[in-house]
Subunit: 506 residues, 2 copies
């Protein structure tokens, strides 16, 4: 057991996350604090850290340190980025922090910052080729990813605060200002010979989080989840238009925009819009994970080799965090996968649904942590809110619904999820729900008694022959309650029998 | 650690619950199975158990036994009630069960059955004087409770199935049938000299659970919680009218009524209506706990002394089940109680809200089990669904909302909870939410650093002087985020200072 604190001294805000890493390799976030200090705000032309900002930063770090001690943090990693990196007086600041509160800050190079951004995103999203953009207060990182590998990166020395200082963005934006920003950004991007359209733009940082939140509010999106949220270039254009027309004060009316970001937000939007235009990228995926998560994964994985399978890694972690019965969960997953593979084609079930099925099967009982009563409903809620990495939002909702169907008849497709799933996807959910429900019955003893299933599909029937360690009468009896739902869904009678295979041992 | 299985062979259904009892005394339900066998159904005039029913019962018990073994149950308690109790051939049945599956069934006397009903209800509801009614398939228990004590009881040899057999209730009921049932029931009740109106009628059993479910559906009630649900005699009359007008087949249209109870439900309703009329009792509280829970509590408490404080017992159990940081939870409860007691009168906060405040304070972090992100929202969901005993439904919703406010500004009062809380109650929620939020900040280190609070209330300010083990700068700094909400709610500025008390140690 280890508690790791990660402090990130950014140009806009200073944050600390505390991770609890268990001996079994699982981890969870146990605390998070943030202060918006605007350390990267300049006083005139000086790139120095301003004395009063330094004082506030030290007070904040003292608070973080105290909190870390109170939480019994074993290791504290503190990093700083552009505001400190560029400051001629940074040694004074680092020395003060070291002497007054005993924290040694690592000032990350632009490349290191880019790498951790990449490492946070690559371990929490299913990405192959993409361009990552992290807009900070005083810098912007761009990272080219090919085949999940880190290829190229740059740390541009301007961010949301810098843009606001350069172009004065407090009033409604004139067309002239927008053109100026665009010209500036294009000339910066033009220097990057390697910049190209490579899959989606993956957006990191508070500006992207705000952008996605505004978009969700505008669209009445049914989930309040930032990570892996998808948007298009058109969505960005629309929000930029909306924001540009307003002064910083009036922007606070925009639902989803943080008050403490209203003044600097248009600069970030200008950067995103220009990059999309410049590269021709049309689609954005927002990442809730970046620098801090990248540092966290480096510690947890013990190196810089990304996880092999993002979803699997995330599910392993959640299975341990939720303390579900791992043996039963894995039995239900194996049995439902067997059923799916044997029945998928002939019963006309959608292909390639293993990720949804696996998530639902492994986590079907996680709602027991809320209460045993109606725990299928609580599994729905828990899955929906548990920040599983490696699923699209659609798949997440589908998995939550499949899990909700593991004990009872169908869950209806109602608002607000109606807007996310169409009838066909809902039908897939119902079909997968039956697979999990049969698997749940077949592992009714929770001990892996059922070893094999052999399916025979005839005109009017589906027969499952069950091979089990000891006679599976109990399991078959329990599975009978599914027959009605099965017949309604697939138009065939379900028959479950003990396999007639006889042991050859005399 | 111990796993206890409790089998209850009733006249309508046979059930098993499995409880996991931990060394720290906490327990949770981990499995529940039910088969509706109608063991109490008669064949002509014979009171004997019918051979085919006995066979099915034995198969069901074999399933339960196997499941118990698979779940590694350490102790299996099996009880039977009226259907077995009255049967002249019961010894044959008991012997068959013993010989074929090795389960020894205790046949409870009517008094024992009544006692366990009482013990299930008294440990899970705040009751002083009341009349308990448990309607089974073939018997009805009535128990008079005075001052939380078991006073008198009777087990009447008829229940929902018996009534259906006696009065043929499959068709829509004629006025004549209703009169006949009423006459029969009144004559039975008239023999019970001790029967009187003593607080509410506490209803136990499937018929009451169905009754409450129908009532919730009719009223669009915002919670799907049976235990401690309140109804009036008028509600019962209305539902009886609704049910009486329909045949058994048509009754399945009634939302909330189980299909496997549609034929016998009017008999149970007739019993409830007659008892309310006879005693003049106007209000009903439905108990989700009865015989099985009574047996469970006897085992868990190691005797027949009821818990001293139902809410406290339930909260202790949930704090352990959820694995929340007990020290921090108890610090937040102590600090918020101190604040409440010091501020309640002068700031015009509602009196007697300790139960709501205690629940919210002790469980404010339980949502972390779902995810740290937005855990205040998950605490809301978890509290609402965690079957806390000893709170009214209104108090439960209030506590969940107060917990949801421990980190962020107010949670709005929206549908469906608008129908349960009025503006005044919502205002109380907001005020208590501030108490918990200040307490949370004052225990920001989670280690009980703050020892004392001294409040001073002036015309325009409320000043809190904080005494702490080590200087509480961190805590006070954290609590400052509440100042705006505090001022808006109470119309006074909140000031928090370190107490000037100086240690007298030189």
């Amino acid at each position: 057991m280890k508690k790791l604190g990660i402090i990130d001294i950014g140009s806009n805000s200073v944050r600390m996350v505390v991770l609890h890493i268990k001996p079994d390799g699982s981890f969870r976030l146990i605390d998070e604090v943030k202060e918006t200090l605007r350390l990267g705000e300049r006083n005139g032309d000086s790139r120095n850290l301003q004395p009063e900002k330094m004082r506030t930063a030290i007070e904040t770090l003292r608070f973080f340190k105290d909190l870390g001690e109170a939480l019994e943090v074993d290791e504290l990693v503190a990093t700083a980025t552009e505001a400190v990196r560029r400051a001629p007086n940074r040694e004074d600041f680092l020395k003060m922090v070291q002497e007054e509160i005993g924290i040694r800050i690592s000032v990350l190079s632009g490349m290191q910052e880019s790498y951790y951004d990449y490492f946070g995103a690559i371990n929490t999203m299913v990405l192959s080729d993409c361009l990552i953009m992290d807009i900070g207060g005083a810098s912007t990182e761009l990272i080219l990813v090919r085949n999940r590998e880190f290829r190229q990166s740059v740390s541009l020395p301007f961010g949301a605060i810098t843009m606001a200082e350069m172009f004065r963005l407090k009033d409604p934006l004139t067309e002239e200002t927008r053109q100026k920003m665009r010209k500036f950004l294009y000339s910066e991007f033009a220097n990057l010979t390697w910049l190209e359209s490579a899959g989606p733009l993956v957006g990191i940082g508070g500006s992207f989080r705000n952008l996605s939140k505004i978009d969700r509010k505008l669209k009445n999106y049914p989930l309040d989840i930032t990570h892996n949220y998808s948007m298009t270039d058109m969505d960005v254009n629309e929000i930029f238009r909306l924001v540009s027309g307003k002064s910083a004060k009036d922007r606070t009316d925009i639902k989803g925009l943080s008050a403490d970001r209203a003044d600097i937000f248009p600069g970030a939007l200008a950067e995103i819009e220009a990059l999309l235009d410049f590269t021709g990228i049309k689609s954005i995926q927002v990442s809730g994970a970046g620098l801090r998560e990248g540092i966290g994964y480096e510690h947890m994985l013990g190196g810089r080799e990304p996880v092999r399978d993002v979803l699997e890694n995330s599910l392993d972690n959640l299975v341990k965090n939720f303390g579900v019965n791992e043996r039963h969960a894995s039995n239900v997953w194996n049995l439902s996968r067997t059923l799916y593979h044997q029945l998928q084609e002939e019963l006309g079930i959608e292909r390639n649904q293993e990720r949804v099925l696996k998530t639902a099967a492994l986590l079907h009982d996680c709602g027991i942590n809320v209460s045993y009563y109606d725990h299928h409903k609580h599994s729905f809620y828990t899955i929906l809110n548990s920040r599983i990495n490696g699923l699209s939002h659609k798949e997440l909702v589908m998995a939550a619904m499949v899990a909700a169907m593991h004990r009872k008849d169908e869950m209806k497709l109602t608002a607000p999820f109606k807007s996310l799933l169409d009838r066909k996807e809902y039908n897939t959910v119902r079909q997968l729900g039956i697979m999990v429900r049969i698997a749940e019955s077949l592992d009714r003893r929770q001990n892996g008694n059922v070893i094999g299933i052999e399916s025979q599909i005839a005109a009017k029937t589906v027969t499952l022959r069950i091979q089990a360690w000891i006679s599976p009468g109990l399991e078959i009896n329990d599975a009978k309650s599914i027959a009605g739902t099965f017949a309604r869904t697939f138009g065939k009678q379900l028959q479950i029998q003990e396999s007639e295979e006889v042991d050859s041992v005399e």
